[in-house]
């Protein structure tokens, strides 16, 4: 699908809240099957894959006890699950029922070796791109672990250099985006690994980051970045221009509502307090956007998934005035 010439951005309303503490505890990534939603969790309440459905029902766990520091999750067309473990330096492949089909990856810094593999994404060919954090690079592998490509590999803050990258995404045109975590920026590369552009710098203002944890790109080319320690997600257009930010607008998930309705004390305490903080994001670890322009945010500190949905109208070149070189005050 070709990208539109331009957009009428109508809005980005809140869409859905999924999960709750002790179900989707401390989510770090999310993936989707035909009917199931797979949430990768990490921490003292469980480091495993939680399966829920769109009705927010708990369908069980996959991979319990298998992971130390699970970081990234991918779900393929057969609903096989790929989980990176940045303590074990492995990628584990499981069936949707949790049977381990394959484990690959070995520690080291040579091409094809890994040192704390974190985020994962598929490219258009179905290969896997891995953020190889301590080696300051991303690598591309076949699904069974054959090394195909290395991008980066030099620690630093110059163009194409990286400092402990965390998130990675590949868009439909083949460009690779890296949330260059300790440099507080996102870098964009061609599929061949050539540097294209950089977005962001350190701080908490618009377009600034405090340790960005992930990045994703929608079919319009809009870029979403989870700005981890600023507790928000920022959105940029394909040129890297800041569009808006998401600080969280959660309502009660279905399972959360059912829990509260069964607990009289909880009901009373919520009547005694200010509920505004319940909407907000806390240390979001992962953003993913799907083909329906739904933006999924793994709200790590609040144990849930917040979902927004983009409203935009695609414009042809004839529908919009030509680009302007300068701003104008006469805006009609």
């Amino acid at each position: 699908m070709a990208r539109p010439y331009a957009l009428l951005r109508s809005g980005f309303p809140y869409y859905l809240t999924m999960g709750q503490r002790r179900v989707t505890s401390n989510p770090v990534d999310i993936g989707f099957g035909e009917e199931n939603v797979y949430v990768l969790t990490r921490g003292g309440l469980g480091s495993e894959v939680r399966v829920i459905n769109w009705e927010d029902e708990n369908l069980g766990l996959r991979g319990s006890g298998s992971f130390t520091w699970p970081a990234g999750l991918l779900v393929d067309e057969d609903e096989n699950l790929y989980v990176s473990d940045e303590a074990k330096n492995t990628i584990t492949v499981m069936s949707k029922d949790g049977d381990v089909l394959d484990t690959w990856g070995e520690p080291g810094s040579d091409h094809g070796q890994l040192d704390r593999p974190s985020a994962l994404d598929f490219d258009a060919q179905g290969n896997i791109v891995v953020s190889d954090t301590i080696n300051n690079r991303v690598q591309r592998f076949t699904r069974d672990g054959k090394h195909l490509q290395t991008i980066g590999g030099v620690q630093g803050s110059g163009e194409g250099e990286m400092n402990m990258p965390w998130g990675v995404a590949v868009d439909e045109l083949g460009f690779v985006y890296v949330s260059d975590w300790r440099n507080d920026r996102v870098q964009k590369f061609t599929g061949e690994g050539e540097f294209v552009m950089s977005i962001g710098s350190s701080g908490s203002g618009k377009g600034e980051f405090n340790r960005p944890s992930s990045v994703d790109v929608d079919a319009h080319g809009d870029i979403y970045v989870s700005d981890w320690l600023n507790d928000r997600v920022q959105m940029f257009n394909a040129d890297g221009r800041f569009i808006e930010q998401f600080i969280g607008d959660a309502n009660l998930s279905k399972s959360g509502r059912e829990y509260i309705l069964a607990n009289q004390v909880t009901l009373r305490l919520r009547e005694m307090t200010d509920l505004e903080p319940t909407r907000r994001l806390s240390a979001p670890c992962r953003v993913r956007v799907d083909s329906e322009f739904r933006l999924f945010i793994c709200d790590f500190g609040q144990h849930r998934i917040q979902v927004y949905k983009k409203e935009a109208y695609e414009l042809s070149e004839s529908q919009i005035a030509p680009p302007m070189r300068n701003p104008i005050l006469f805006t009609t």
């Binding site: 003292g44 402990m164 509260i260 305490l269 005694m272």
Partner: protein, 469 residues
């Protein structure tokens, strides 16, 4: 630099901090003792710790819930901070104003209380007691949220006077009742419940409609007293200066009897307490001048190895020696292991047993905890590749080959310098004699013989003397 100067700096860093490795000690020893004290008293001169990598690999530190992990993060700060007195004062106030997680199970407020101690711990008694009185964790711990105008609860008012400022014998029961009335209406905002989305914090909240506005008399002051007035009066009492001075002496200088005995047992060093009281009085209750007086005093300088290490000191000090918990956690490493270690030795940080806090000194040691203390310290030296062990081996290698006596002396020096008695020295020498000369002159020799050095280090940290700061 003289060996004695370095040994004195080492003593200072064990007490005002959590110890120091040899590189740090040598760097500090290029300054005068008094200048090192000033640097400790002014933590803002040093950069604060970067915690981004710690949080990335202990992800639950990116929000306030997992209390054991946050306690471990505190030990990690004790190990790594370039502002060690800031952490030590937070630990000091945690000892004095003991507040436990187990009653509320509300992690954000317990975590926040320790942050508050870190922020104001070296300010003045009035500020510290005011922050304490406004602290939601303390408020709930001592039931002041149940202290209403028409139904006072005296728990907070009583402990403020008995355990947190003046000590038993310096006030009357009427003073307690009136202090409690002055704190009516001091409560906290209701936190949003834990389920379904996790903890949210709480803040101090004053309810004027629930405050007893009638006249009260407290320690000779009469009026419509509110909580701030009580704190102001308490923070300027000589009894408070004396009580906190004794706590400071017990924590930083030498072990005193347990707190409940203080109204019948005199201080071990009354002159030292008097000196600290005078510093409080001359400086309007400020902590920094008192700490300056304490650290620069002869009684402090002469108190080497006269205090049993509390578990946090033992764990943090040992980890500093081996260098295993730095800015980037090792794969799979959780700082929760650090708080787990202090817990098993009898000190669960953020969760003291009662409002009296921990009994200190020799009461840290019993058959079980001594075993845990020794095993923990010894186990840290199992890994010959740990940065601290490698650094010690490299330093020893400058001497080429070490005779048995040299091995004992040099290892004792690099672990402290640690002063040991004849019995311990004899045991160390016996081991050193059994291995003979230790050659560290080549890479191969270091590989072959590092284990002998590590074994000697393990015997040293297993010694009776290593239990003392």
């Amino acid at each position: 630099m003289s060996d004695n100067h370095l040994a004195l700096i080492s003593h200072l860093m064990r007490r005002a901090g959590f110890g120091a490795g040899r590189d740090e000690l040598e760097e500090l020893s290029s300054k005068s003792y008094e200048d090192v004290v000033e640097d400790l008293l002014h933590p803002e001169r040093q950069e604060d710790l970067q915690e981004d990598a710690l949080k990335r690999y202990n992800l639950e530190l990116s929000y306030h819930d997992a209390v054991q992990l946050w306690a471990g993060r505190w030990v990690w700060r004790m190990v790594n901070s370039r502002r060690p007195l800031e952490e030590k004062m937070a630990l000091f106030w945690h000892h004095v104003f003991a507040t436990a997680w187990y009653k509320s199970e509300h992690s954000p407020t317990i975590i926040r209380q320790i942050e508050m101690f870190r922020e104001v711990g070296m300010s003045d008694l009035r500020t510290i007691l005011t922050e304490l009185a406004r602290d939601p964790a303390m408020n709930y711990w001592l039931d002041n949220c149940e202290n209403h105008a028409d139904q006072p609860n005296e728990n907070w008012g009583r402990e403020l006077l008995e355990l947190f400022s003046m000590g038993v014998g310096n006030y009357t029961e009427d003073d307690i009742k009136n202090a409690a009335r002055a704190f009516t209406g001091w409560t906290f905002t209701q936190p949003i419940p834990l389920y379904p989305f996790g903890h949210y914090t709480s803040e101090f909240h004053y309810l004027p409609e629930d405050h007893d506005d009638s006249e009260k008399t407290f320690l000779g002051h009469t009026g419509n007293l509110n909580g701030e007035d009580i704190v102001d009066i308490v923070a300027h009492q000589e009894a408070s200066y004396r009580f906190i001075s004794r706590h400071l002496y017990n924590f930083f200088v030498a072990d005193e009897p347990q707190v409940p005995a203080w109204n019948i047992e005199p201080p071990n060093d009354p002159d030292a307490i008097d000196a600290l009281v005078q510093a409080f009085a001359e400086n309007d209750g400020q902590l920094r001048p008192v700490l300056r007086t304490l650290f620069n005093s002869d009684f402090f300088r002469q108190a080497r190895y006269r205090k049993v290490k509390n578990p946090a000191e033992l764990v943090a000090g040992t980890i500093k020696l081996v260098g295993t918990y730095d800015w980037l956690p090792a794969p799979g490493q959780s700082v929760g292991a650090l708080s787990g270690a202090t817990s098993i030795m009898g000190q669960t940080l953020m969760n003291p047993p009662t409002v009296e806090g921990w009994h200190t000194g020799h009461e840290w040691i019993d058959g079980g905890t001594l075993n845990e203390r020794v095993n923990f310290a010894v186990n840290q030296f199992n890994d010959l590749s740990s940065p601290g062990v490698r650094a010690i081996v490299e330093r020893l290698a400058r001497d080429g080959a070490l005779s048995p006596d040299q091995l004992v002396e040099r290892c004792l020096d690099l672990v402290g310098p640690l002063e040991v008695g004849d019995q311990t020295r004899s045991a160390l020498s016996s081991y050193a004699d059994s291995v003979g000369d230790v050659d560290l002159s080549t890479d191969q020799a270091r590989t072959d013989n590092a284990g002998k050095v590590a074994r000697m280090l393990q015997m040293i940290v297993a010694s009776r003397e290593y239990q003392f700061a």
